[in-house]
Symmetry: none
Subunit: 200 residues, 4 copies
């Protein structure tokens, strides 16, 4: 990993634990193993590290969303197979590539901290934690409705419900202490249980 990447990695870990302001350049450099003056070769200033992280996060998110968009455009004439497919979307995209992804998970934590006093962060947080997921779930449930799993009239209520479960479980299990494999597994299992038990 390049020095620049190492800096971003260490910075994100620290920012997401203690908040941007509470982390010092010294803290970061100490962990990376470079002198403070060296950091300024790679970044204009402290803010620049944060900005780079945000940019990288936005790119990651829009990558995910565009992937998802392509998927949605595939004609749904795929019978049963695609049923599994649609909820796999949630597993693969929402979980594996987003909530469970180390980079994204830490970015979410950082956003949660910063959104209280940073409007840019608030907007991003709102979008990536509430708006986007809702839209994704909506698409998924609409696809499921097309497959006859349930009626179109039920879609909105189901989406709301699913979104509520996912959000609560996320805050409770994924944005708390360290994100271990055990926690991910437990989270996934509980989501699937709720999906089957209360969604039909």
């Amino acid at each position: 990993m390049s020095t620049k990447d190492k800096i971003m990695d260490v910075a994100l870990h620290m920012f997401s634990e203690r908040g941007y302001e509470a982390v010092s350049i010294r803290d970061i450099c100490g962990e990376v193993g470079i002198k403070e003056s060296t950091l300024y070769y790679h970044f204009k200033n402290k803010k620049d590290i944060l900005d780079s992280l945000i940019t990288r996060f936005k790119d990651h998110i829009s990558g995910l969303l565009s992937h998802l968009g392509e998927m949605a455009n595939i004609p749904s004439g795929k019978s049963k197979k695609s049923n599994a497919g649609t909820s796999d979307i949630v597993d693969n995209y929402m979980m594996d590539s987003y909530l469970f992804d180390p980079f994204c998970n830490l970015m979410i934590r950082l956003m949660i901290i910063e959104q209280f006093h940073n409007e840019e962060m608030r907007a991003l947080y709102e979008k990536t934690m509430f708006t986007d997921p809702y839209d994704i779930y909506l698409k998924v449930f609409q696809a499921l409705a097309l497959q006859g799993t349930f009626t179109e009239a039920q879609v909105e209520a189901y989406v709301r419900r699913y979104h509520a479960y996912m959000t609560t479980l996320t805050f409770r299990y994924l944005l708390n202490g360290e994100l271990t494999e055990a926690r991910k597994k437990a989270y996934k299992k509980e989501v699937h249980a709720l999906m089957k038990g209360e969604m039909i």
Copy 2:
């Protein structure tokens, strides 16, 4: 308001916006209108302000819980009237005296920020945002079940669902930007709508 209370008030507002570490004694004193040295007459050190806030919060919470405990012991032989009563518990205690309460709301925000690196905060956050509310809802729904609103078998699922809605809405509307009267009203309305629409 005494100087000490003013300090705690200002400190909480700032801590809950920017996090404990990012707020300086200078910031607090500037807002309160005292010299920094004066603050140290009232508090041993910066940490002491935080500790005092936490103590006050814990007292507030345990006050609420004990009140609630007394309520639960009142025999439920009150027909329809008490139905309204049980969900009033949620309105009065969970909302008006907790989520909407200016002090508690800011303490929750502060806990959210600090829990990422402070184990004491994490435990308190887990308890006051997930464990305690769940237990409260459980009591309320058990009372409702006794009144025949729904079967006992349904209680657990309903509690889970209600908790999920409440939590998600709380994070989305009450722990975001400023807590206005409009937001509180909207929140209450939406909760009631969900309650009636999806809980029967």
Copy 3:
């Protein structure tokens, strides 16, 4: 003991350990058990405590010296008895009432610390640790010479030697760590041994 005396007592203990500047009003008041503002009822300011101590010390010293002066004027026609008497002077005055006296001992320690940067203290230190003792020993040895213990010609050399022993032992055993009874006893014994062994 009056509050004022308690303050002086505590102050002297602290000053003689850590030096005047390094001891704070807070330290003193904390130990005495009063608030800082109370101290200013008894003393004009911090310097005033030190000045009071110095005044008290000077009074003590001049009391000792005038006592000693009276003794010296007593005609020495007392044969053997007065021999013991003259060296009792050293025991009673130099040791019991000066070097071993808790107040004086601590004042000497304080002077040692302060004399490095305080001319008033340097003068007092020079006088009470070198000049005065030398003069006292001189008187004692002159009395001893009159009794024929040794010749007048030897007096000066004996005084120099005795002074050197006393001073060295004092710095080594009495101005070091806590002044315990054991240390005093050991000191006295060693002085007497040297006196007998090397002074004839």
Copy 4:
């Protein structure tokens, strides 16, 4: 001289006059001509300056002692010439390289101040002002005894006496006010006079 050395030099001068605690970082930096923040580039904290001085002093001392040890091993078959040699040891090592040495002299003053409340300092002070010198004088006088200057039986008494003279004169003339060339000269002369006058 490097900035770091300049800091240590200035710090020692100030510490040895007013005591470690009473000297502020500001005082030191003002004299050195740097900003306070610069000092923290060279030293971890204030204590680190003191520790560095102590380390340097201990190194210096052990350098002297090991030199002295080598000397002692040289066979004494050198007749009269070596007589002068043995007491030159005292002149060169105890005086020129220790008591008169600007660095050591100031360190001794510092130790005297600090030993009253700092056990590490007390031990160092005891060793370098009483124990080590006694051992050195013992070796010198034993060498002189071998040359027949006096009998072996007299050695211990002579060492005690010499040590007492040296110590007293040191406290009186070398650890008092500024250490001028005149004072050094006077001190040396007086020591030599005593040596010749009372030691035969």
